[in-house]
Structure formats: C-alpha cells, structure tokens
C-alpha cells in the first residue's frame, strides 16, 4: 500500500465512522501502551469496593475462623483476644454425633438438606414453567408478569408475617380451608410448631423464592434467537416439541447458574425461618443458620458456633466446587 492510498482510505473511513461516533481519529495518535496510559487508575476505581469487602466480609471471616479455635464464652466477649486457645476442641464438640450438641447439629444439617432440596426444586420448576408459559405474547401477559414478581418485591418480613398469620391454628386461613371447608383434617393442626412446620417453611420459601427463578429464566429466554423457532416451525415442529428441543436445551447455561445460586441462598436462609418461627425454630424445621445463631447467641458459646459456621462454609465450598466441575464438564461435552 502506498502512502496516498492510505490517506484516502483513512479519510473515507473517518467520514463513515463519525456518524457512529467512533474513535476513528484515535488512530492518528501515537499508540501508547495500555499499562502506561491507565497507570493505577483501575486499582483506584476498585479501591472502595475492595476496602468494604475486606472490612465487612474477608476480615470478619478470618476472625471467625480464628475464633473457632478458641474457647470463646460470654466471659471473653469484651476482650475476645484473651480467650484461651483450644485447638480443635470446638470442632470435636460440633462433630461428636453421640453427644447432644453434635447430634443436634447433624439433625439440623439433614433438615436443611431436605428443606433445600424441595424448596429449590419447586422454586426452579415454578420459575421455568411460568417463564415458558409467558414466552409468547397474549392478552394479560404483562399483567401476569407483574403479579408473579410481587413476592420477590415484597419485603421478606412483611410476606413471612402474613404467612405466619395464615398458618395460625385457630384464626388462620390454612386451617379454615383444610379443616372447616374441605374437612381434610380431624382437627385443626399446628403448622408453626411440631412436625408440620417443615411443610409450612417449604411453602413460604417456595412462594418467596420462585419469582427470582422466573425473572432469571425470563431474561434467559430473550436471548434465544427467534430464527431457531421459525426454522423449526418450517420443519413442522409443534409448540411442545419446540419447548423440548429448543427452549429447554437453550436454557441450560442459565439453569446451571440459577440452581447454584438458589441452592446457596436457600441453604443459608435465615430470614424466612427466623420471621416465621421466632428465635426458637421447631426441631423439624431447625435450619442450619438458625441452629448456629441459637448456639451462639442463646447459649453464648461463640467458639463452637464459629466452628459450626466454618464447617458449613467448607461444606458449601465443596458442593459448589463439585457442582461447577460436573456442570462445566457437561457443557464442554455438549459443545464438542
């Protein structure tokens, strides 16, 4: 290329480009290496976020891990540095499943697993189903979409208090329907104490959680190219086939992240059981967060509570790592 040609093409290019407001002119500047031009700017921009994450998350977490190796009872709250080191004693107490503390922790862990399985499964199922049913335009679609997002928008305590009212034994809606109107139970049941409380907790958690799944899947659906549906329609695919062959497979990457996020949120959930049952959750709905909170703040034994929290974190890390490993391998396999 000769010099004249270059100039011509450049003027032509910058003319075309100005309408889009692009940096055609930038090419005339001598190119400065990125590293020099930016200097420390990106770090400066990140500084507030990093400082806050350190202060609120990372440093407390490290302190929490340190605390789990100390005998931190109420006598040492004012001066927790003076609490004696106990090595792994707190962990031994937490995982000694023959002693009451360990047994209760194990029970709570199982309850949380069962709760999470049903709460996440149903929330996901409802979310995906609703999003697919609202994919196509029809009268009232926008209205329904708004309605479905109401549980997500409601403050968790306002929603859960309302459910607590509905689950009251004597003046609640649930018993009125099940006992008075349908006659399904011999006498009004207790929903917020005793064995039934796990059902109440799952219902409330699904009610509160599924709109998030709906929101994410709805966003994911908008990224499926419409040509896929058009092409398959030409080939004679019906709507059920399209859902099975196009929609669901296209949602796979979205679902993989969604299920993980739902799992982590549900497994750690504190707000729902705390508002539904108050400080003492019934044994059948004794979720792990509530259990640790009680072990710490009710029995004033922070060392053991911290050890339990660390064990919980390790469990979540392992599950997340395994999950990511399996799903990423699955994704690679699908691409190949």
């Amino acid at each position: 290329m000769t010099a004249t040609v270059t100039t011509d093409s450049r003027t032509e290019k910058s003319d075309r480009v100005t309408s889009r407001g692009t940096g055609g002119a930038r090419r005339r500047l001598p190119r400065i290496p990125d590293r020099i031009r930016q200097g420390g700017l990106p770090y400066l921009l990140l500084l507030p976020a990093v400082l806050l994450e350190l202060l609120i998350h990372v440093i407390p977490m490290i302190i929490g891990i340190v605390m789990s190796f100390r005998r931190l009872t109420q006598f040492f709250i004012g001066n927790w540095g003076a609490a004696p080191w106990t090595g792994l004693d707190n962990y031994k107490i937490a995982v000694d499943f023959n002693a009451p503390i360990g047994e209760a922790l194990l029970h709570s862990f199982f309850v949380t697993c069962v709760f999470t399985f049903f709460a996440v499964g149903l929330a996901w199922l409802f979310g995906v189903t609703a999003a697919i049913m609202l994919q196509e335009n029809f009268r009232g679609r926008g209205f329904l979409r708004a309605i479905f997002l109401v549980p997500y928008a409601l403050p968790v305590y306002a929603a859960v208090i309302t459910w607590a009212f509905m689950f009251q034994r004597d003046n609640g809606l649930v018993n009125h329907v099940l006992h008075d109107q349908l006659g399904l139970t011999d006498q009004p049941s207790f929903w917020l104490i005793g064995d039934n409380s796990i059902y109440a907790l799952i219902v409330v958690s699904v009610w509160k959680g599924w709109p998030f799944a709906f929101l994410i899947v709805m966003a994911g659906l908008q990224n499926i190219p419409r040509e896929l549906y058009e092409a398959s329609a030409i080939d004679g695919a019906g709507i059920w086939q399209q859902i099975r062959k196009i929609t669901l497979p296209s949602l796979r990457p979205v679902n993989q992240v969604l299920v993980l996020v739902l799992f982590l949120w549900t497994f750690n959930d504190f707000n729902t059981p705390y508002v539904l049952f108050g400080k003492a959750a019934p044994s059948s709905a004794d979720l792990i967060s509530i259990h640790i909170y009680q072990s710490s703040f009710v029995t004033w034994n922070f060392g053991t509570g911290s050890a339990m929290s660390v064990l919980l974190l390790l469990f979540l890390l392992v599950v997340t790592a395994v999950y990511l490993l399996i799903t990423s391998r699955g994704r690679k396999g699908a691409d190949a």
């Binding site: 990125d34 590293r35 966003a219 705390y274």
Partner: protein, 302 residues
Amino acid sequence: MPSHAQPAALSRAAGSRSRSRSPMAAPQSFLWTRRIILAFLTAFVLLPVYVMISSSLKPLQDVSGKFHWIPSGLTVKPYLDIWDTVPLARYFVNSLLVAGSATVLSVIIAVFSAYAVSRYKFRGKRVFTVTVLSTQMFPGILFLLPLFLIFVNIGNSTGIALYGSRGGLILTYLTFSLPFSIWMLIGYFDSIPRDLDEAALVDGCGPLGALFRVVVPAAVPGIVAVAVYAFMTAWGEVLFASVMTNDTTRTLAVGLQGYATQNDVYWNQVMAASLVVSVPIVGGFLLLQRYLVAGLTAGAVK
C-alpha cells in the same frame, strides 16, 4: 446479518406479532395447560396478598376468631392505630435512611468497579471478580459475630460508633448488594461499544469524564436495575438488623417482627403495618421491573 435475509417473508410475518414464538397457532392442549398453570400460580401468589389487604381492613374480632374470607365489616382503624402501638414512623424513617444511603453508595461503588473491570486490563482482575462473587456464598452467620466485635472495637478505640448506629448498618448492607451489582454492571458495560468512550477520551474527557458522560448514560437501565436490587436487599434484611441496631436505630425488619411476636397479636394492625411498609417498595419495583429484566438480560444472563 445475511441469515436474516433468506426467510425474510417469514421474519416479517413473525415480527408483526411481537415476541411470537412461531407463526403457527398454538394447539388447544398447550392453551389449556397454560391457562391451568397460570391460574394456579396467580392464586398461589395472590393468596397472601389478599389475606394481607382484607385482614388489614377487618375489625379486631374478625381476626381473633375463625378466619373468614369476607370481612364482617370494613374499618380503617388499624391503619390509624399502627402509628401508636409501635413507633412505626421511626422504624420507617430508619429503614428509609439506611436502605437509601446503602443503595446510593452501593451503586456508585459498583459503577466504578465495573468500569475498571470492563474497560481496563490489569493484574489481579480475575482474582477480584472471583473473590467478590464468592463472598455471596458466605453464610451470613459466619461473619455476623466477628463483624459485631469489630464494630464494637472500632467504637471503643476511635469513637466512631458503628455498632448500634445507622452507619454500621449502611456499610454492611451496601456490601451485601455490591457483588451482584458489580457482576451485573460488568456485563452491562461490556455490551456498550468501547468505541463510544474511546471517542470521548479523544475529545479530551478524562477516564472519569468518559465514564460519567458516556458509559453511565448509556447504562441507565442496568444502573436502575442494580439500584432496585440494592434497595430491596437493604429494606428486607433481618439477621444483621436484629443484632446491629438499638431502640433508636431499629429498622422495620426488626420492629415489625417484634410487633407480631407479642403475646396478644392484633393481626389486623400487623397486616395493616405490613401493607404500609410494602406498598412503596412493591410499587417502585413494579414501575421499574422492565429495567430489571432488561438489565438482567444484558448483564447477568449470557
């Protein structure tokens, strides 16, 4: 996009019916399934909403005895009484101050961070994004007590009162929404053509000028989505509010709960109070939900 050109007639037909899945009419089996599922979900979602609204208008004897679908009479008395039974107005102001400040700060900090990650190459970028996101999976219970101790100790040694103050709660809440906000905004900023801010740089804007004059205006839907998310996170949090506040700084999350666990619960008042604290946030959310979906589409879901 040449692939569009081929079935041009078809895409025109599909385009005239917006968002239509296919030009073919859906079969009856699908329409009926859809009706049944949507009716079930609507009933499930609206049931507590109906209970909340109808009970808040019932006289006390209606909510203390057996539940009735139809109120025996309507009264607005619960709405007048709630302000005296508990200091609801004070809780409301506290929640508004805490959630509002946490939202503003969280959005500003998230915009800076997302801009750095989206537009610059630097060492430690991946470590930053992974670390920030992984804080989302920490069980809150793990750092609740240490954080409580840190706040108390900062107060003792420097006189900055974080424990029991709104400031401490604001700092805590803004970090709760920060990871997801940064993540979503990185995706959103990535979708804005780089040429736009490079042109601004050439025109003499500094990097911050480019951020505020070009990138931020183009990312308004994403930023609104992030703000909605941050506000809702702060408005609804219970665990830290129950430990980190005292009588004067108590937020709605704790105040309302204390209301409902008294020995004699005035359920009509509790429902009225729940409705009053929900209306501003649900209303705001429903007005802005379009942005949230748009923001998620561009940002998170890829």
